[in-house]
Symmetry: C2
Subunit: 473 residues, 2 copies
């Protein structure tokens, strides 16, 4: 049995402004409206080949994972990381969970942010790599380079072994441009980060070459709590070093093997790569959302909200989200990383933050910000509820516009009352009142919140109870 292990850690910094801390790369609709996480799920949907997957994701993204699994109709074991620690601890935890029930299971480790168009070719490569994996090898999928990329590690295939795999002569970390040319000429392959191996092999090699990680994984899994998914115990997991599986294991183990991929591959690392992977019109443009292009060639234009008009330019990238706009050159789309660093270093925006923020219970978005008021749209997922909380500096007025809300409110813990608020009804939350918003129904609850106060910062919150273990303030 092959158990896919899907790693959701890719942040996608160079895909700003679409990629954000709470909506990272694997969950963005980058490919014809589909996320690479959804496409990864579809790649392992054949139940004659693959068992239900293990998905490793950060706590912040559990809701995005659940929603995509539910849309795909796939049942998975979701391993929730208290915080991401790179791929070695994630793979160690997944291998530990799988080995507990079936040490002979084969793990197929798949980063959730890759694009592989050819599902058949992918399945063929898995089949070709299988004999080596069953023979106790850790098989990495190698991609035949189409350019001297500096963004990937390289691997040099050696002697042929069982099936379609070969031994690994050497791993090379991300090279400079000149070295990359040499590596491509010498027949090196890109290290895709896709691995096939026995759970037991993975654990043994981690134990041998990265003992603290094996231990952290054991303790984090041992102390895990199950709330719909399996949440790894925080203290031991966070004790694991932040390190990739390549550094921690692959560059050291004598069990490494490589299988040359028989499929096209992209990590959609930049907007240029997203453009490259998409269908283009006659002028070489890719446009999605409300975009009007005139006298424009070779460009990528995408918007989730504002109308974009582009005229008389060539090879540009324009990406707009609810609250931000990127403009760059397609040839230099890599530079977005520098831009994001500059933005992070820039002073706080004087205007409001109008992005949609994902939370364990759903999401919220600021719609309007005045001197003494703010308007938010709050979406509570079915079965979820916000923390029991109060605010020192603001009163709130809630109007339910979709679903049926359960609202608890009172000035003290002893006087709390709970009532049902239907769509089109409103309720006041006085300043200082203890309150909670919950969704007991089967469809989302959408609330328009009008806040009043002299201070409207997100940090004016005292949490008295929380389903998701968040801090009191």
């Amino acid at each position: 049995v092959i158990i896919p292990v899907i790693l959701c850690g890719g942040a996608g910094t160079r895909l700003w402004p679409a990629s954000r801390a709470d909506a990272p790369k694997p969950f963005l609709p980058l490919v014809a409206g589909c996320s690479t996480f959804a496409l990864t799920l579809s790649r392992i949907a054949d139940q004659t080949v693959f068992a239900p997957p293990v998905v490793v994701a950060s706590a912040a993204h559990r809701r995005l994972v659940d929603a995509a699994l539910s849309r795909a109709g796939i049942t998975a074991t979701v391993l929730v990381e208290p915080a991401p620690r790179d791929t070695a601890p994630a793979i160690a935890a997944a291998a530990t969970v799988v080995a507990d029930s079936d040490p002979s299971a084969i793990l197929l480790v798949l980063p959730a942010d890759h694009l592989i168009g050819d599902t058949k070719g992918f399945a063929a490569t898995v089949a070709a790599a299988l004999p080596a994996a069953e023979d106790g090898r850790i098989v990495v999928f190698g991609i035949k380079p189409d350019r001297a990329a500096t963004a990937y590690g390289y691997v040099k295939p050696g002697a042929a072994i069982a099936g379609g795999a070969a031994t690994v002569e050497v791993f090379v970390e991300k090279p400079d441009a000149a070295t990359a040319e040499d590596l491509v000429a010498a027949g090196y392959l890109w290290n895709s980060g896709i691995f096939l191996m026995h759970a037991a092999t993975a654990l043994a090699e981690i134990e041998r070459h990265a003992k603290p990680i094996a231990q952290a994984a054991r303790e984090a899994v041992g102390g895990a709590t199950a709330v719909g998914s399996l949440t790894l115990a925080a203290d031991p997991f966070l004790a694991a070093p932040i390190i990739s599986f390549d550094y921690a294991v692959m560059e050291k183990t004598d069990r490494a093997a490589v299988a040359a991929a028989g499929f096209d591959w992209s990590d959609l690392g930049t907007w240029a790569a997203v453009w490259e992977a998409a269908d283009k019109d006659a002028a070489g443009n890719v446009a999605s959302g409300d975009a009007v292009l005139v006298d424009t060639r070779g460009s990528y234009v995408s918007t989730t909200r504002p109308r974009i008009g582009v005229v008389a330019v060539e090879d540009v990238v324009v990406v707009a989200s609810d609250d931000a706009v990127l403009v760059t050159s397609r040839q230099r789309a890599d530079a977005v990383k520098t831009l994001v660093a500059a933005i992070d270093a820039a002073p706080e925006a004087v205007i409001g933050d109008f992005a949609r923020h994902h939370r364990p219970w759903g999401s919220y978005q600021s719609l309007d910000l005045g001197e003494h008021h703010q308007v938010k749209r709050i979406v509570v997922a079915p079965g979820e509820r916000l923390s029991l909380q109060k605010h020192a500096h603001r009163a709130e007025h809630w109007t339910v516009v979709e679903g049926v809300a359960e609202v608890t409110v009172g000035m003290t813990m002893d006087t709390l009352t709970t009532k049902t608020v239907q769509a089109r009804e409103s309720i006041d939350i006085p300043k200082g009142a203890i309150h909670r918003l919950a969704n007991r129904g089967a469809t989302p609850v959408v609330v328009i919140e009008v806040q009043f106060g002299d201070y409207l910062g997100e940090d004016d919150i005292i949490r008295l109870e929380d389903d998701y273990g968040r801090q009191a303030r």
Copy 2:
């Protein structure tokens, strides 16, 4: 006495997305946060030289005019056009109003969308042109070309006459590029659209060369209604042909003269011109709003709301408003006109219209649009009120966040009740109820409106009474 006549007709199509039908070019903060209308007012603020101005503006922009006049502390006669008919009818109406009280007054006609940095040089040119105007000439200000522009008409100065003016040998309409080169080489000046003349001269020459316009102006002024400003009678005014003063009078009259301008001039016709007129940083960039520029040169970046990140490009124009984004090349900023035509021809946006819309009573902006709800921010100016109205398909819930609102509501005209709604208070408007929102206070009233219904279009409105003469539906 010199009476400035300020014409607010410039639409500024090539300044999309900042320029919109209800927020046209003269009222945009194009120059260091100031509008050209405000800068035009400051140019004629010297009361030893200029009498209070006459401002001619479309009914749709009366509130923008009033607000700017009030900020500038200038009292003006505002002539409200039911709809714009180009400059000849506007000048005819202004001249008629002025001549009624003082036919010997000198009119200084100023388009409200020009940038003239040198107020002293401007005053000097007015002084130089004055003797010719007093002598019964219509003096147009001629601008010394700094390039072979095809966007302006040209005028050829002839023999010197009184003061610093000259006769006009010939007017040339907007030329092609080759002709423009020849005209510049031959010493032609740009026709600025700034005129100095006796009110009586203007009327006499309009009467002689464009009789229907003189008549339309007389009847429109005769039938005008005064509501804070002077609203021209619609039927006669709209009977005037749509034509510029240049075509209607200047190219025909024998009273034409020209005064060479002793000041720098820009009509800020494109974003490139706005960039040209602004202070630039060391990299040649102009940025306003929440913009972060990295490795970018020679570019103009402006935003009223979304954060804009620009990286690794040169000579681009990026302009973002609440609901739309423009990206173009600075060298080809002229092409925005083509883009706007394409946008106007494009199908309705699938997403909502999130622009701020100006109305005679204030403004509104959609903040959120769901399948069965919409959220709007409504701003009612002091002393103004919306129409008495009802909606067939939606209920509304209003929460006042600033000011004190007066709300009238009832299911029939006989059962209307009026109450005061303070900030932080809410009120329901049931579906089908007759209602009205008014501001009796001295500061703006801001209301967050949540609409509920299966149909939320702007056209679901039946007006029972309206202060601004708008139609019932």
